[in-house]
């Protein structure tokens, strides 16, 4: 049989039972649509999280006291009897490849404006380098001044949401605020930055680290953040930091170093697994769709026994007959796959219009994979019926007519 003949034969048999073909393809279409939508949601979420993290720069490295991790977060239970100190932070500046060092001491306190409005928020004790290290631009005024980190200073920089909440329309720059009952002068307002893992960065205040330690009566830092210079390899720099700090702590590694890159990789892996699991569950529909095609092909062969006998009698080989039915199943499934792809993209378009915040991203690879999968599903579900058709004895088949 020539290829054009084959194609014409398959097409006419599919269009001959238009409704039947459409319904079989619909099953596959629903499956492909579900897979496309869920993969897009997974991929979109992954990209969203990665962008959230990388807005702080991927060369950020955090050191926390203690080695016990709680829910993957180090330092929640506090450190050892040897503290992570401001001196540790200052000493780390000597390491090659380290560009910014930010000692961090944090706590919660009420910030009160002269208007009498107050708000309980996170207070971060940091130094002047925090804005650069965290890639955190200042909106008005300036960030904390460069002072000796051991010295306290009555300067505060407010997040934009906090400033709006306690000052309203009044310009906050130069005003006095009371943080935990202690007076500070507002020297700057940050640009809006948004949320990170439930922490609203716009609803917090920044004060000199020594002032924060005094305010919260802390004896150690909760974290030291470092940035590694652009041209340095991060793992090598992390190793130098580890060796250096352990030597300062009488040879004990009583701290945890986490690099932003490492965290990103971990998140990426977790998201990949979640996306894969959800997609696999959605792919059950594809499997059921395949069963649907199998059923219809089975019935179709039953109905077309005479036709198959005629083909065989006219000299078409067994393989030729099997090919006809395999092709039919594949075309049916591919049509469903295309319809599902179109439907999925259409739903994504609608979602984008009505819920623009939803992170959706459909990689071209996934679209190609969905189509390839639908062809494979068609071939797999056509295999049994095709074999049965090929096995028919031409004489018996013709007599059945």
């Amino acid at each position: 049989m020539r290829v054009t003949d084959l194609a014409g034969f398959v097409l006419s048999s599919l269009t001959g039972h238009g409704l039947r073909s459409a319904l079989s393809a619909l099953g596959i279409a629903i499956g492909v649509m579900a897979v496309i939508l869920l993969t897009s949601l997974g991929e979109g979420t992954r990209r969203y999280i990665v962008s959230q993290f990388s807005q702080f720069g991927t060369n950020l490295v955090a050191i926390n006291p203690g080695r016990v991790k709680t829910f993957g977060i180090p330092g929640v239970f506090g450190g050892t009897t040897r503290k992570l100190t401001i001196d540790d932070a200052q000493a780390l500046r000597r390491i090659r490849g380290v560009s910014h060092v930010v000692p961090v001491a944090m706590g919660q306190a009420e910030v009160e404006s002269p208007l009498g409005r107050g708000r309980h928020v996170y207070i971060y004790g940091v130094n002047h380098e925090a804005a650069d290290a965290w890639k955190f631009p200042v909106g008005q005024g300036r960030f904390l001044p460069p002072i000796d980190p051991h010295r306290q200073g009555a300067f505060a920089v407010l997040g934009p949401k906090l400033a709006r909440e306690i000052f309203g329309a009044r310009p906050p720059l130069g005003e006095r605020v009371r943080i935990g009952g202690v007076g500070f002068i507002v020297v700057g307002i940050m640009e809006p930055k948004g949320q990170l893992l439930g922490f609203d960065l716009d609803d917090s205040a920044y004060i000199p680290v020594a002032s924060a330690m005094r305010l919260f009566s802390l004896t150690e830092l909760q974290e030291i953040d470092l940035t590694v210079a652009e041209n340095e390899a991060i793992p090598a720099a992390v190793e130098r930091i580890r060796t250096f700090l352990a030597a300062r702590h009488s040879g004990e590694e009583d701290f945890t170093i986490t690099s932003q890159q490492e965290m990103l990789d971990t998140f990426g892996r977790i998201m990949d697994i979640v996306t894969m699991a959800v997609t696999a569950i959605a792919a059950i529909s594809l499997f059921v769709g395949a069963i649907g095609i199998l059923t219809i092909m089975w019935i179709s062969i039953h109905e077309r026994t005479g036709e198959i006998g005629l083909l065989r009698a006219l000299g078409v080989s067994r393989r030729g007959v099997a090919g006809v039915f395999l092709l039919e199943a594949a075309v049916l499934s591919l049509a469903g796959g295309l319809a599902g792809l179109a439907g999925g993209l259409a739903v994504e378009g609608l979602l984008f219009l009505f819920a623009p915040g939803l992170p959706l991203h459909t990689p071209v690879m996934v679209m190609a994979a969905a189509l390839a999968m639908s062809i494979l599903v068609g071939l797999a579900s056509g295999y049994l019926p095709a074999r049965r058709a090929a096995a028919l004895d031409p004489i018996e088949a013709l007599r059945a007519e």
Partner: protein, 399 residues
Amino acid sequence: MKASDLALFAGTALSGHRVRTALSLSGVAVGIAAVIALTALGQGAREYVVREFTAMGSHVLIVFPGKVETTGGGPIGGAPRDLTLEDFRAVVSRTPGIVAAAPLASGEETLRYGARNRAALILGTTAEFRQVRRVKMGAGSFLPRRDARQAGSEIVLGAKLARELFGPESPLGKVVRMGTWRFRVVGVMAPRGRAMGIDVDDVALAPIQTVMAAFNRTSLFRVFIEVRDKRLLPEVKERVTEMFRERHRAEDVTVITQDAMLSAFSDILNALTLALAGIASISLAVAGVGIMNVMLISVTERRSEIGLLKALGGTDRQVLLVFLAESGLLALMGGLAGLAVGLAAVALFTGLYPSFPASAPLWAVAASILLSLSVGIGFGLWPAWRATKLDPVRALTGR
């Protein structure tokens, strides 16, 4: 037509096309099995979390230092006013309805015994901790009862920590060192595994005053308060918050009930289970389309039969019922098969992982039967309706 006639008619029609029937019901079976298995797993996860929580005492309030208005998570870091041992004593002694209350301070340090050492989480607390957190002892005794402000040199080790430090030796009565501090081991806790993200077998408990001095802490990390009766929880919570507000002249502690934490977790897991089951039930829609397709073919094939039925005085309603009974029966059989497969898969899973309490909830079993029946009837409606529209004369003459 009688109901038994109807069932017989549908049954014969289905058993006449064995392969076709088996194939179309297997679609429903796959969908139902997936829904059942996923609901069981989700339910198991929820059950697991609930068990973790209730194993630690049920009517418990947890007090954190600090208060934040913007985030949902628990506070991290310090607060301007310390949550001190004096606060703890004053508040607990003057609040009625408390069964037991324990303060907690924490730090990490290396414990040494002879040449062996191991870094561990050191928790400072009092004898009441045993009651509040339902600690089970493996050997020896717990920390002795005494005033929280008094120092002491007793230490209770987690099972894994004791094994790592002492090997086969009995740790009871031995002295372990932590920096310059020395503690005498009075007990070893029974193995318990991970709870709330930390390995409780790898911690040590020591008197609170000593731990706070050793780590130079001025503030407690948490306070646990067990209340006599669940109904007293809101009242005690209110009273504790109020007393802290009076003592600190500001609201700078967060008091949450363990039940609130539990129900937050439980809600998330329920939503997750429903979402996964929902995704899995897309396959039921696909199976429904398959049934519709087969029923349409069946209607076309049996035109003459329908014609005869109508010629013999069968009403449209009866024809409709015949075909609905057929598709409903098809889907119901699929649903039952899927239920069996799903339950078998769950049983296999719990056989392999006995600690995970996966079981299909009764509502899911009932829902899956109803769901499969409604898939059959819902998707069978259109083919059945087409059957009723057939003209008996034309159907019988085959035109």
